[in-house]
């Protein structure tokens, strides 16, 4: 009896192994190819998908619909989305922090009668959740989101898990948006993503500290280094030993700091589509950010800081400078929430590397959230999701992101001087009430619009190839080794490069 049971279990185990090995689940790409072949061999005409039935250029060209002060729905959307009551999507973080998304959801619901249901997922878990949904072919969530889009997009697009959005991206529409972002949402000639928000970087400084150390507003990263060093000395002399010259993140967003250093010299991180960390520009940037900690100008604690931690640290008045998200230029206007900082802060576009660089190199990286459609969702829901994407990239929707929430618009046309006059504040208040948060102030002008526009104009976008998360992990690890003195800065960078080469080579 006992032997029989053991034998049965062993047999089942062997069968399970054989099942996994001999009948691997086909990837969506393989399924698509098979379907394509079958379709090619079938002479009967293929019925149009629901989203192909929408007349995206009626009642007016798509570009005009998108640029109108009030978004215009395309014709044929009712038939394409008939029967769809709800679109479920993953939202990065809690909706309480995304008032513009909430306002846009309300506008879309008023326009179409289709409800949007957000499932809030913490940014740190979003990719895992998305991956679980896609790999299990769960059709219940139509829209997935990448909060670290430049690193994550290529991976899931390559896996073939998303519905193509080619209908939304004819050349004339592509021309409305920054080329870097348009390039980033494509894979092998097809569009898969849209972007709802983006965050460019601004250089934050505290005027009172600059005054105390007798330094002007830094123009170059070399100025920043000198001033930050003086600021740290000043803080120590004042007994504020927990305050530092500059603060920055030690997690994934560390790469944004390194990238800022590279772009400010006119360089790029990618060369022929692959990481090039041994370029002179990258080496300079690497040594710069390592030495800031080694010389005690920045706290070693930055190694453990996330993108949120370091910006909060600046908000707590514990640093003189930071290269921070433009979103915080909006957040810090709420002086009640940041009493330690108060009004003692201002922003300029990111510094250039040194005085020899042109002004156009006052550039940093652009970070954006991407939305994609789950390939396994029902066709009509996918059509409805595309309609929502179409609205979210429009001037009206982007206006709320830029003017109310403080994100940057990825539609340059949004940056009009009088854009704020078009905001429906009653709707914003209603959204705040629904979210049970304090309504944002009814501002009469967009905070720090000039600096934000200047940053948005020079910002650089690079979409990294699949496997780049591993590459970045290697950089972060060796950055830690260099900062703690375990390795010399360039020795650590060389070691990281060895790992990166391995990770990006096919297995």
């Amino acid at each position: 009896m006992k032997k029989g049971l053991v034998l049965t279990f062993v047999l089942i185990l062997v069968l399970a192994v054989l099942t996994a090995c001999s009948q691997p689940a086909p990837t969506p790409e393989v399924v698509e190819k098979v379907v394509e072949k079958v379709v090619e061999a079938t002479p009967t005409p293929v019925p149009l998908q629901p989203w192909e039935q929408i007349k995206w250029n009626e009642p007016m060209p798509m570009t005009e619909r998108l640029l109108a002060d009030e978004y215009v729905l395309p014709e044929g959307w009712q038939e394409a989305t008939a029967g769809v009551d709800e679109i479920v999507f993953y939202n990065s973080g809690g909706m309480q922090g995304d008032i513009a998304t909430k306002v846009n959801m309300m506008i879309f619901e008023q326009l179409t009668g289709i409800k949007l249901k957000n499932i809030d997922v913490g940014a740190g878990f979003l990719f895992a959740k998305t991956l679980s949904t896609l790999s299990s072919k769960d059709s219940s969530v139509a829209i997935v989101s990448h909060t670290d889009a430049p690193l994550e997009l290529t991976q899931t697009m390559a896996a073939g898990w998303h519905e193509s959005l080619d209908v939304l991206w004819p050349p004339e529409v592509q021309a409305l948006y920054p080329k870097g972002l348009v390039d980033a949402i494509q894979w092998e000639g097809h569009f898969y993503g849209t972007c709802d928000t983006e965050r460019s970087y601004l250089f934050f400084y505290r005027p009172s500290v600059l005054e105390a150390i007798g330094e002007p507003v830094p123009e170059t990263w070399q100025d920043v280094y000198r001033a930050a060093k003086k600021a740290r000395e000043y803080f120590v002399s004042q007994g504020k030993t927990d305050s530092y010259g500059i603060v920055f993140p030690g997690d994934y967003n560390l790469s944004h700091m390194l990238q800022a250093g590279v772009y400010s010299q006119g360089g790029r991180v990618l060369k022929n589509g692959s990481w090039d960390v041994m370029s002179p520009e990258f080496q300079n940037s690497w040594e710069y950010w390592v030495n800031l900690v080694r010389e005690g100008i920045a706290d070693e604690a930055v190694l453990g800081y996330t993108w949120e931690d370091y910006q909060k640290t600046f908000g707590l008045g514990k640093a003189a400078f930071m290269l921070g998200f433009s979103t915080y230029a909006m957040q810090f206007t709420n002086t009640e929430a940041w009493p330690e900082l108060g009004t003692d802060w201002d922003v300029v576009a990111p510094p250039k590397w040194d005085a020899s660089q042109p002004g156009s190199n006052r550039a940093a990286f652009i970070d954006f959230d991407a939305n994609l459609i789950n390939k396994f969702a029902p066709p009509k829901v996918k059509a409805a999701a595309m309609l929502w994407f179409d609205y979210r990239r429009s001037k009206q929707a982007q206006m709320y992101e830029m003017a109310v929430e403080g994100n940057e618009s990825w539609l340059p046309a949004t940056y009009e001087p009088d854009i704020i006059s078009k905001v429906d504040w009653d709707l914003v208040d209603a959204a705040a009430k629904e979210l049970d948060i304090k309504a944002p102030p009814h501002v009469t002008e967009v905070p720090k619009l000039e600096a934000r526009r200047a940053s948005a104009e020079t910002t650089v976008m690079e979409a990294f190839p699949p496997g780049s998360k591993a590459a970045l992990e290697a950089l972060i690890e060796y950055y830690g080794r260099a900062v703690t003195g375990e390795m010399e800065p360039l020795e650590a960078l060389q070691a990281a490069n060895t790992d990166i080469t391995k990770y990006l080579s096919p297995q």
């Binding site: 069968l15 192994v17 996994a20 927990d242 604690a301 690890e477």
Partner: protein
């Protein structure tokens, strides 16, 4: 019809066996199978034999994660054991108020590890955490202690957070064992002149061997495959990967690199190692039967 005892026993075990089959055996078999596939979600899935294992064993980061896992497991288990043991003896000796203290002891057990990680990450944060703040106010330190900025201290930090949630289980287990020991034995030992350490070494520990071994085994097994506390305290595995454990290597292989084949191979290795630890402890605990 009358069933024989063995058939009746088998029949009663059937639901459990079916659960075991569905939730353990089939997934385990599938895991083994996946570990032989190139399954990176970029190229078509293909049988590649042992190449995932080769890739993993050639990967410096895998070995680093194994080294860290051993340090972490040993550290967490040791801390859990010693504090749990002390607590259990304290509670056992306590008269009045024991129920309140026992309840308080159990509280951290109810906290999920990922939450424990967040709590301790805040406690240890040098900029706004209470740990450094208290020490600064007591003038015991001049500058905040940067636990997570220091590769050696970071490991201590995650061990503390992990042990904090495991100590109650260990304490309750040992306490239950202690309460099963007859008081007469202690009294007889006292009469024979045994001091408190003798009573601990010659009565409490030997007669409590199985609960202690069970506690140790459970702690080491769970800490061996920890991901959550690392995830919340030192995202990415800490400075210079100082807290990068085997479980995190597995997690990253799936959720960051989308390489299910390598992740499965890692899972198999962790499974085998955990199994070996389990078998070892079971032999130690029940081998004398």
């Amino acid at each position: 019809m009358r069933l024989s005892d063995s058939k009746y026993g088998a029949l009663l075990s059937l639901p459990g066996l079916i659960l075991l089959l569905v939730l353990v055996l089939i997934p385990s078999g599938y895991l083994f199978g996946l570990s032989f596939l190139r399954y990176d979600n970029i190229r078509p899935i293909k049988f590649i034999g042992l190449k995932n294992y080769q890739y993993m064993f050639d990967d410096r980061v895998f070995w680093l994660s194994m080294k860290n896992t051993i340090i972490f497991s040993m550290g967490s288990t040791a801390l859990t054991f010693f504090v749990g043991m002390a607590l259990a003896h304290g509670l056992n000796a306590m008269g009045k108020g024991v129920a309140i203290f026992r309840s308080l002891t159990v509280l951290p057990w109810a906290v999920p590890l990922v939450i424990s990680g967040f709590i301790w990450a805040w406690v240890f944060n040098p900029a706004f955490g209470v740990f450094s703040d208290i020490l600064l106010k007591l003038h015991l330190i001049q500058e905040p202690i940067n636990i997570f900025g220091n590769p050696r201290l970071a490991m201590v930090g995650v061990i503390v957070a992990d042990a904090w949630t495991r100590i109650p289980f260990m304490a309750i287990l040992i306490l239950a064992g202690l309460q099963a020991i007859s008081q007469e034995l202690y009294e007889a030992a006292k009469v024979d002149g045994a001091d408190v350490f003798d009573r601990f070494a010659y009565i409490s520990v030997p007669l409590n061997r199985r609960p202690i071994l069970l506690g140790l085994f459970t702690t080491i097994m769970f800490s061996f495959r920890t991901v959550d506390v690392i995830f919340s305290m030192t995202p990415g595995g800490g400075v210079a990967k100082s807290t990068y454990l085997g479980g995190v290597y597995l997690f990253d292989s799936i959720f960051k690199y989308l390489n299910f084949g390598v992740a499965a191979a890692t899972g198999v290795v962790i499974f085998i190692l955990t199994l070996l630890i389990g078998v070892g402890f079971i032999r130690m605990a029940f081998g004398e039967r």
